[in-house]
């Protein structure tokens, strides 16, 4: 659409032909209609510390982001390679630590990392799968040039938006889907169920009992937790519904306690088990980790996977991929300066106004600095922070992110986007849902796509080949 020569770019061609035939006021009305649909369905997220509007909608843009079959095939290959490497890395870190012995990743990065869980050392989860569900954040800078921004190997969220965005589009523009062949996403929940079933502990029934653990309805992602449980036909449970009975994790049903084989937990590691971890946690289940250690429960994702996805480890991903797969990484990393290295820190401080600085353990777009958009005072503040705590930060160049069209009151306008494809991993296969969640920075020129910072989402179409 915006490839310069004013001719629609490949995958957008059919969509553009349709779009040109539309009345723009009708489309704007559809945008309002979409919002009402989301409200009715209750697709909201809660914002911490915001009592005025504790349930908010993530703005939805009705223009799909379209990816060609060829581009997707290339991406999917790179994603699969990356996820396999992540899983192998976590396994290795909690077993022989070959990669540290080989000197490819500094030992200090693991031993001093809060996400490292000593309790996991030597423990082998069912099927040797750690990263059951992964979200890989990807940006494109030029045609077919993709960079991985971030790996999410703990409890990646957003998949419900991927699914509901498609539902909304199907509801509002049914005619589009008969004209244009878009790869389906709506079997995600079944795929998830199957993938988790394949990871059930030994000795489970053929149809193991699955449940989704949520911190509760005041959690910002509660809608997603209930949505996923609902879609895959699993119980949605909270800590208060669970206890350990006869060596198994069990949930309190109307007829007594019933064992659970696989728990898709949306509660952080530290809160899982007040006996083994944070004693103040009321979100978890006392003794659950003992059941896990005994091999009688699958936790998805495994505790301790956070060791693979923090921003300091990220910069070693090319080495990690090569180490475990013997191949060059298919997807590129964004060049990253690790501020704990004095040379890098010096460079970052000199070029702060051109860089993006992120906290190593941060997420959700909080605590980051976008150099080109920052005021002098902000730059000064960050210089101080960097000097005081260099190991807490990494820096990356601001990429010339490609943009895609969104609908505004003045017609189509380009905005920056990223993409989070969702990956499921079992001992049998790696499944990647075609597409993913496209997040879009709604403000002109903005690079921040996080929903907590005013970003929106759009449907993501992968064309069928």
């Amino acid at each position: 659409m915006f490839s310069g020569d004013e001719k629609p770019r490949g995958p957008y061609q059919s969509y553009n032909e349709w779009f040109d035939g539309q009345d723009s006021t009708r489309l704007l009305r559809k945008s309002v209609e979409a919002e009402a649909l989301f409200r009715r369905t209750g697709i909201t997220f809660n914002v911490y510390g915001d009592s005025e509007a504790d349930e908010r909608l993530i703005p939805f843009d009705i223009v799909p982001r379209i990816i060609s079959a060829k581009e997707w095939a290339k991406l999917a290959k790179g994603i699969e390679q990356r996820v396999r490497a992540l899983n192998a890395f976590v396994h290795d870190i909690y077993h022989r630590q070959e990669i540290l012995k080989a000197g490819r990743v500094p030992t200090r990065l693991i031993s001093e990392n809060e996400a490292f869980m000593p309790e996991m050392v030597g423990l082998s989860p069912p099927g040797d799968i750690y990263t059951h569900i992964v979200g890989i954040d990807i940006v494109r800078t030029a045609k077919s040039e993709f960079y991985v921004l971030e790996d999410n190997a703990r409890t990646p969220s957003g998949v419900s938006y991927m699914l509901e965005n498609r539902e909304t589009m199907l509801h509002m523009f049914p005619e589009l889907f008969s004209q244009i062949k878009v790869a389906r996403v709506n079997d995600y929940a079944l795929q998830l169920r199957q993938s988790l079933t394949e990871c059930a502990p030994e000795g489970s029934a053929e149809d193991p009992v699955l449940a989704v653990l949520t911190p509760g309805m005041y959690n910002s992602a509660y809608f997603e937790h209930s949505f996923i449980a609902d879609q895959m036909g699993a119980e949605l449970v909270e800590g208060r519904d669970l206890r350990v009975c006869e060596g198994k994790l069990a949930m309190r049903t109307t007829q007594g306690y019933r064992p659970i084989d696989v728990l898709y937990r949306r509660v952080d590691d530290d809160f899982l088990d007040p006996l083994n971890f944070n004693p103040l946690s009321r979100l978890g289940v006392p003794g659950i980790f003992d059941v896990y250690r005994a091999g009688r429960l699958t936790l998805a994702n495994a505790p301790g996977t956070g060791i693979s996805d923090d921003k300091a480890i990220y910069s070693y991903m090319p080495e990690i991929i090569e180490f475990y797969t013997g191949e060059q990484a298919l997807l590129q990393n964004v060049p990253t300066w690790r501020c704990l290295e004095p040379d890098s820190l010096a460079y970052v401080l000199d070029n702060l106004d051109e860089l993006v600085v992120k906290e190593v353990h941060g997420s959700g777009g909080y605590g980051m600095l976008i150099g080109p958009a920052a005021s002098k005072a902000e730059l000064k503040k960050f210089t101080k922070k960097l000097k005081a705590n260099p190991h807490n930060y990494i820096a990356q160049p601001t990429l010339a992110l490609s943009s895609v069209p969104i609908l505004t009151e003045n017609g189509l306008a380009p905005r920056h986007v990223d993409l989070r494809p969702f990956v499921l991993m079992s001992p049998k296969k790696v499944h990647i849902t075609p597409g993913g969640l496209t997040r879009v920075a709604l403000e002109e020129g903005s690079l921040v796509v996080n929903s907590s910072q005013g970003g929106g989402t759009k449907d993501t179409w992968v064309m069928e080949g």
């Binding site: 409200r39 009715r40 369905t41 209750g42 309805m217 509660y222 209930s226 449980a229 609902d230 699993a234 119980e235 949605l236 449970v237 909270e238 208060r240 519904d241 949930m251 309190r252 049903t253 109307t254 007829q255 007594g256």
Partner: protein
């Protein structure tokens, strides 16, 4: 099903039923206030009594004037039984048990909540009140309709119904109890204009004026009204009807789960001890005592259901 989910369904429908009943009470109060000179402060007081909220009301108000009572019952967030609070609670219950609801039931509940909270955020103008009350009834009816039209007849449905009929029987019993003095003889007063207005209020507050006339063409007297609202098994808000539904749903649960529980026996006793009496027996025994014992037994039944089906562990 999780015990928590069963409890959530139970309370969701209790709360929905409660908001609908509160709207009806206000509707009946409004009717009296409009048709009687003097604004009907007594009537509003008895409406608050029926809602079981007199003590709470008086902690923040001095008089039972119409505007304050209406505001308190419909939109006061500090009143846990106000329509606003009950809808909020019902919707929170629904969010909690979303995996046990069809999409239709969830959306109907969510939309009702959105519309009613929007309608109840601003103070209510007199002229908007009738419309607002019918909106409340319509919204809760939509939820009930989607329940009937889309939910499986399984344990989920049974718990929803248990909550609905416990709340409803409680409401009918309270209405009768607050007004019982009107229903008692002396026969001499029968037929006075005041009484017939009051009786009509009783019927109106359970939406039963028309139904009563069908069942009792031509006559309106205290005994017939009491009999209709306590014993008539065809009247969907009568005690006999509600208790029989409770008994049915508990027996469906027993057969679904293949095990018997104490609450089923309690429901059966409650039903039998109620329907075994004639209206004459009830008046002889003392209407007030009879109604008080129903309210008490239904409360015991509710907490036995909670225990039997592990709502809280």
């Amino acid at each position: 099903m999780l015990g928590t989910t069963a409890g959530g369904l139970f309370w969701m429908f209790r709360n929905l039923e409660r908001s609908e009943n509160t709207a009806r009470l206000v509707e009946a109060g409004l009717r009296i206030a409009l048709t009687r000179p003097g604004g009907g402060h007594d009537e509003w007081e008895s409406v608050v009594n029926t809602a079981g909220a007199a003590a709470d009301y008086l902690s923040t108000h001095q008089t039972f004037d119409g505007a304050s009572v209406v505001d308190y019952l419909l939109r006061d967030p500090s009143n846990p039984s106000s329509v606003l609070s009950a809808m909020e609670a019902a919707r929170n219950n629904a969010r909690m048990v979303r995996t046990a609801l069809t999409r239709e039931v969830w959306e109907a509940t969510n939309e009702s909540w959105m519309r009613l909270t929007a309608a109840l955020t601003k103070p209510i103008q007199d002229r908007d009140l009738p419309q607002l009350l019918s909106l409340i009834r319509r919204e809760t009816t939509l939820v009930r309709g989607s329940l009937a039209g889309t939910m499986m007849r399984n344990d989920q449905y049974d718990f929803a119904h248990l909550g609905m009929f416990l709340e409803r029987s409680d409401n009918t019993a309270r209405i009768l109890d607050v007004k019982y003095y009107l229903l008692l003889p002396p026969e001499a007063q029968v037929g006075s204009r005041l009484d017939s207005i009051q009786w009509e209020t009783i019927l109106r507050s359970v939406s039963a004026q028309r139904a009563f006339r069908w069942a009792n063409p031509g006559e309106m007297n205290a005994r017939a009204i009491a009999s209709f609202l306590i014993l008539d098994p065809r009247m969907p808000r009568s005690l006999a009807f509600c208790y029989s539904k409770l008994n049915d749903n508990l027996s469906y649960l027993e057969s679904t789960y293949g095990s018997s529980v104490p609450s089923k026996a309690m429901a059966q006793d409650l039903l039998q001890s109620t329907t075994a009496s004639s209206i004459g027996d009830i008046f002889d025994q003392g209407l007030h005592e009879f109604l008080q014992s129903r309210i008490e037994l239904a409360n015991q039944l509710a907490s036995q259901i909670e225990t039997d089906y592990r709502f809280h562990g």
